[in-house]
């Protein structure tokens, strides 16, 4: 168990991305990242993890397509617990994920989206499991990616993938049986939000996905943000904030931090980049070139996003009424 860290309301938790990743994402860490498919993935952090050549990560996700695929593509991930490895129309199955599994380079444990959500929620709530009726009768229950032996020899994974249990309240709620899914407490969670202050209070706009549960389940939390504001600002309308500052270890100001995925009210996903990624991902040599040219050759996300051509940037800029780029060419 970690010693309690005395939390200090007036202490700034501002860090550079490089320091935050170096400090909270050691090789072999159990990590989860926020966002969903092509939206609000913490991509600036993902690229920094790739730059720092982290290895042996154990990654937890529900449906975080792009971030998950790039971490896998860079060879950072050994084990993955996931519900969905896809990026919508850009990749019905994430390409580097698929290749890694088919080549036997990545060990996967399959759950459903709700189960992964419940597992983070259990971690956030401080209980060892939560129940659901989902997956009864399916191979999600019957087939385990991590063997029972492997599980029991690793104290950082629960002994069972899940447990099917009869309802101890005798048919209460017309329910005879439930599936219990085990809590996740990642070593570190990274989420990208629209707005945060230096203490760590954070606000997500649009759908929060399961970011809040992922954030609260973690031992350490890195919040990256589009806009860094004064403490008074977010406190004027605290009903709209989701993350209390005392959950946060590092606040990183990362404009365009979700790019090439979307950030509601700020920018849309970048179809040009996602297609370019797709083309690269389909071929191992092209993918190595992508890593070298696009990621390793930049020192940070600022340099990386400075390369987006101005027309492309303008095209994905969010329309103030709808929060996305109306009429964006997405073919």
């Amino acid at each position: 168990m970690m010693d309690p860290i005395p939390m200090n309301a007036d202490t700034s938790k501002l860090m550079t991305m490089s320091d935050a990743v170096a400090q909270f994402v050691p090789d072999g860490a159990h990590i989860s990242i926020g966002g969903f498919t092509i939206n609000r993935n913490p991509m600036a952090a993902v690229y920094e993890i790739i730059r720092q050549k982290k290895r042996g990560l154990h990654l937890y996700a529900h449906s975080n397509g792009q971030g998950v695929d790039e971490l896998i593509g860079a060879g950072a991930v050994d084990r993955l617990e996931i519900a969905y490895g896809g990026s919508g129309r850009f990749a019905s199955t994430c390409i580097r994920f698929r290749k890694a599994v088919e080549a036997g380079r990545l060990l996967v444990e399959d759950y459903t989206n709700y189960q992964m959500t419940l597992r983070f929620m259990a971690g956030a709530m401080g209980v060892p499991f939560l129940p659901t009726r989902s997956s009864l009768g399916s191979d999600i229950v019957n087939r385990w990616g991590f063997s029972e032996t492997a599980r029991q020899s690793d104290p950082r994974v629960p002994d069972a993938k899940l447990v099917v249990m009869d309802n101890p309240f005798d048919g209460w709620c017309d329910t005879d049986r439930v599936v219990l899914v085990p809590a996740i407490n990642p070593d570190v969670t990274i989420i990208h939000v629209q707005t945060a202050d230096r203490q760590g209070t954070a606000r997500i706009e649009g759908l929060p996905f399961a970011d809040v549960e992922q954030a609260k389940a973690a031992r350490h939390l890195i919040v990256t943000c589009e806009s860094l504001v004064e403490v008074d600002r977010l406190r004027q309308t605290p009903d709209q904030n989701q993350i209390p500052f005392f959950c946060v270890d590092a606040v990183v100001h990362a404009p365009m931090g979700a790019w090439p995925t979307a950030c509601y009210h700020h920018y849309d996903y970048d179809p040009t980049r996602l297609h370019q990624y797709r083309t690269a991902a389909l071929d191992d040599h092209r993918y190595q070139a992508y890593l070298d040219t696009e990621i390793f050759s930049t020192r940070n996300h600022e340099e990386m996003t400075a390369r987006i051509d101005p027309g492309g940037l303008e095209a994905i800029k969010a329309d103030p009424r709808t929060g996305y780029a109306v009429g964006l060419d997405r073919r």
Partner: protein
């Protein structure tokens, strides 16, 4: 109503699915063609249906078609922007869950409407790895009625799934109840050739009807198992109105229609 002779099978599929949506349904949409079907239904026959995503968006006002359920387009002018936890709870909930119809696709389907969207081959050493369940198994477990999109091909309509990702009628009558699942299950399968239903007694798939210009034999030749075809009736092609709504209001860029 006039019919239109030039239309694609994807357009027919979207229209056929839209016709299955009842006014007042809460429609769970996956990625792709299911969104088009839900959008078309709202414009045609089910103006009071509610488009709803596992990501937490409830009654999205889709001015443009989303390319993923996490697309920002689903977040605009909703009734509530919640999270995944709330979205799935809506489907597992004993009251609201009964009002939800789920639309989903898969890589493989069997005669009981069970779906595989995880692997082809051995689970531990797969020949092909797919995305996995996402919310599909949750929806298939919880809601009263699901509509399934499939490409009609032998390798997809299989006698035995390589992996059962999402429960249909499992192995027949009473099986869902025995497994502990709530009432409900697959209502129909819409393919590029036909619409299939499930017999209320045997829970097995049967041919409801072929699309215009498709023969029963063509349907059967493209399946890995035999189905009852005795109840098949022809399915009306898309009307001019259905097509114009689909093309002009739902997907003018043909992002999903292709």
């Amino acid at each position: 109503m006039t019919t239109e002779t030039n239309y694609t099978s994807r357009e027919m599929m979207a229209v056929a699915a839209a016709r299955e949506i009842r006014d007042g349904d809460i429609v769970f949409c996956g990625t792709g063609i299911s969104m088009l079907a839900a959008m078309a239904a709202k414009h045609i026959s089910a103006p009071n249906s509610v488009i709803f995503f596992e990501t937490g968006a409830i009654d999205s006002q889709l001015e443009e078609v989303p390319l993923a359920v996490g697309d920002s387009r689903v977040m605009f002018a909703t009734s509530v922007n919640g999270g995944l936890a709330e979205a799935f709870a809506t489907m597992q909930n004993r009251f609201t869950g009964r009002q939800v119809v789920g639309i989903m696709g898969a890589a493989q389907i069997d005669i009981y409407g069970n779906l595989n969207s995880t692997v082809i081959g051995d689970y531990h050493h797969p020949t092909v790895r797919f995305s996995g369940s996402g919310g599909a198994c949750d929806v298939a477990s919880f809601v009263s009625r699901t509509i399934i999109f499939m490409q009609h091909a032998k390798r997809k309509f299989v006698p035995r799934l390589d992996y059962l990702t999402s429960p249909g009628w499992l192995d027949g009558p009473g099986a869902r109840e025995k497994a502990g699942l709530p009432e409900g299950g697959p209502a129909c399968v819409i393919t590029n050739l036909a619409t299939m239903g499930f017999d209320p007694e045997s829970r097995q798939m049967f041919l409801k009807g072929c699309f215009e210009g498709v023969s029963t034999d063509e349907v059967l030749d493209n399946m890995g198992f035999a189905v009852d075809v005795s109840q098949a009736t022809p399915i009306a092609p898309p009307s001019a109105e259905e097509l114009s709504i689909l093309r002009e209001k739902c997907d003018p860029q043909r992002l999903i229609l292709g």
